[in-house]
């Protein structure tokens, strides 16, 4: 994805009150300035223009923000709501009913903030209300009328339908399962820690670590309850499909077929390239904690590609050739085949998907050219794994990079 850049005065498209507005603005122009002076939306007021008074408050994706502290160019891709975008809301009525303003200059900022509070925390307690109202200053009222107005809206909100509000997302995905997911297991006669670890495909030390209450793992009794840390269980086949691989055999020796398979074995688009590329991406991503799960995926898939490599090597031997790291034209495999994309994990994921697509195309072409049903069956089965890998990579791309290939 190219770097977005804005120099001098540029056309900016901003979603304001659910309408896409186009303005010519400098990158240094604040959202407040653009709203008022370029779009004529004067509801947001310039006060201190320093982030202190709150008179310029608008909503960005439903959250109250001081528009004097935001560049207009930052608003691209977000939904901006100004006081002009609120029509007959309960908080506006409550301000009138409770005389919650005098000169009115701060009112639009207060209303935007209070409206967001009523949406995000419809059951806000007093301390939350207090915290939110500290964002706005009023030099006329004593704030009490404003508090009364907000409390009235909150109480009506809750009386009407306490579950009615869906607070706007914070724009982050907080991992709720951040504690280890554990399962209780009752020790059966004949069980040992070793057998239980094997049963759940779990490293023995992980099982011991999850059960500090067991003083001596060598001596456990039937009926005792232990923890199984499910999140630590290894799933050895999670990166390939469960379907069995066909038998590694050939109809007869054929050097031409071997030559074709060398391209899949150690050519530019090959299992060797895939292994080296994914291992490289795995190691780079491992240095970024937030990319750990993608790093694990890269490692797991590279191991599956190693399995493919071994199967192709055996076929090449059966065809009467020696599986050296050359392609069909006898060119040695080279690390220049790897799409490195250093320190750009999203680009690495896209490159991995592209590699899998190219591999599938090459295997499909070879299935057409190799008239040996055993080899065709094996290549068709490998294609299934590669398609599965594209799915796995694409899921991570969508999750981590917000895009689809």
């Amino acid at each position: 994805m190219p770097v977005s850049r804005y120099k001098n005065k540029s056309p900016l498209e901003i979603d304001v009150n659910s309408e896409l507005k186009s303005v010519m603005a400098r990158p240094a122009d604040t959202l407040l300035y653009v709203l008022r002076d370029l779009l004529g939306l004067t509801g947001a007021k310039p006060g201190c223009e320093n982030g202190d008074c709150g008179a310029c408050t608008v909503l960005v994706d439903g959250w109250p923000v001081k528009s004097c502290l935001m560049l207009a160019v930052e608003a691209i891709g977000h939904k901006i709501t100004t006081i002009e975008g609120l029509k007959d809301t309960p908080i506006q009525k409550a301000f009138i009913e409770n005389w919650a303003f005098q000169c009115g200059y701060c009112t639009s900022g207060f209303i935007m903030n209070c409206y967001a509070l009523s949406q995000i925390h419809p059951d806000a307690k007093d301390e939350v209300l207090q915290e939110w109202l500290q964002s706005n200053l009023c030099r006329c009222t004593g704030y009490e009328e404003i508090k009364k107005a907000v409390k009235l809206v909150l109480s009506r909100n809750n009386a009407k339908n306490p579950k009615a509000n869906h607070p706007p997302s914070l724009g982050i995905n907080i991992n709720d399962n951040w504690r280890d997911v554990k399962m209780n297991y009752t020790i059966q006669p004949g069980d040992t820690f070793y057998l239980i670890a094997q049963k759940y495909n779990l490293p023995l030390n992980e099982l011991i670590r999850a059960n500090p209450q067991i003083n001596d793992p060598e001596h456990i009794s039937p009926g005792e309850i232990i923890n199984i840390p499910l999140s630590r269980c290894l799933l050895p086949n999670q990166y390939r499909l469960p379907d069995p691989y066909p038998e590694r055999r050939v109809a007869g020796q054929n050097p031409y077929y071997a030559q074709l398979l060398f391209d899949d074995y150690a050519g530019k688009v090959s299992e060797t390239t895939a292994i080296m590329q994914y291992i490289h991406h795995h190691m780079e991503m491992a240095s970024i904690p937030s990319w750990q799960e993608v790093s694990d995926l890269e490692e797991g898939i590279s191991i599956v590609e190693m399995l493919h490599l071994e199967m192709l090597g055996k076929i090449i031997i059966h065809l009467g050739a020696s599986p050296c790291y050359y392609d069909g034209a006898q060119q040695p495999w080279t690390p220049q085949y790897i799409a490195y994309h250093n320190f750009d994990p999203c680009a690495q994921l896209r490159a991995d998907i592209q590699s899998e697509l190219e591999a599938i195309q090459q295997y499909q072409a070879h299935i057409q050219m190799i008239q040996d049903p055993f080899i065709q069956a094996l290549l068709a089965r490998i294609i299934k794994d590669e398609e599965f890998h594209i799915k796995l990579f694409s899921e991570k791309l969508a999750k981590f990079c917000g895009s689809f290939p």
Binding site: R5, Y6, G51, G54, I172
Partner: protein
């Protein structure tokens, strides 16, 4: 209105950000990394800073992380203080975040911006100092994982072209008892006269301070003294105050003597609570 023009760049990867910085720097544009931007905008408006280009790092996925992986809490530099406070994922950090500015500013102000900014208080760094966190930095030399105590000394010591990507904290720290206290002159939403975050681990109380001196700090020597139960509490506190890493702040907000008076009382209250518990 900001009285000068600058160019705006929004990269989508760490490498793009670093490359963009390098290019703009070569062109003499004195680029600044831009995150929440609250400090840059307000200082630029008053001409207290000048740049010909800003590089907004909010589009970088790693900077927007907020989750737990392998028992580590990973917080991207672009996570806002409101997001931290609302997530309740690390209660001490949520409480510390709530002490900075006011709610609507915190919706824009990022954890990275607070720690790397020019405003000296940098209160959001205190929980990370207490929890021996690791910082992840990206720059022309690649990605660095560095213990915060090695790289944070008064300010975060970044190399040319480097920026803060993530902070990584052992999740166990979210379970320890803590106190987070900010004392202001009058208003709640104001810079602190003093701000103390404290946490009890393995029977020892840890302390990190902001507002006391011209920079935030945590001192193991001060902690040893304050935890020494062989000495009466008042003496411990006096001794700790005698070895502060710099002179106590002395300005219009509060004199040094007044700050020390508040500091003594607050430390006494914190220690009494923790030693009772």
């Amino acid at each position: 209105m900001i009285p000068f023009d600058f160019e705006y760049y929004k990269p989508s990867s760490m490498m793009e950000a670093v490359d963009t910085f390098r290019l703009l720097n070569t062109q003499g544009k004195a680029p600044l990394y831009f995150n929440g931007g609250t400090e840059i905008i307000s200082m630029a408006r008053r001409s207290h800073i000048f740049t010909e280009a800003v590089i907004d790092i909010k589009g970088i996925p790693e900077c927007n992380t907020l989750n737990v992986q392998n028992e580590k809490l990973v917080i991207g530099a672009s996570i806002t203080l409101t997001q931290l406070a609302e997530s309740e994922i690390f209660p001490l950090l949520g409480r510390a975040a709530r002490k900075v500015a006011d709610h609507t500013v915190r919706t824009k102000l990022t954890i990275g911006g607070n720690i790397c900014g020019k405003i000296t208080f940098r209160e959001a760094v205190l929980p990370f100092l207490l929890s021996d966190s690791t910082v992840i930095l990206a720059g022309p030399k690649g990605i660095r994982h560095v213990p915060i105590h090695q790289v944070f000394n008064k300010t975060l010591k970044l190399e040319q072209g480097e920026f803060l990507v993530q902070l990584v904290t052992d999740i166990d720290y979210s379970q320890f008892p803590f106190m987070s206290i900010k004392k202001t002159k009058q208003e709640t939403s104001a810079y602190p006269l003093i701000s103390i975050d404290s946490l009890k681990k393995d029977g020892q109380i840890r302390f990190a301070f902001s507002g006391v001196c011209p920079f935030p700090f945590r001192s193991s020597t001060i902690e040893q003294i304050l935890n020494d139960k062989n000495i009466p509490l008042e003496l411990r506190i006096n001794k700790a105050l005698s070895i502060l890493p710099a002179s106590t702040n002395d300005n219009l907000e509060a004199s040094a003597e007044y700050r020390e008076f508040i500091l003594k009382n607050t430390l006494s209250a914190i220690i009494k609570v923790f030693e009772r518990s």
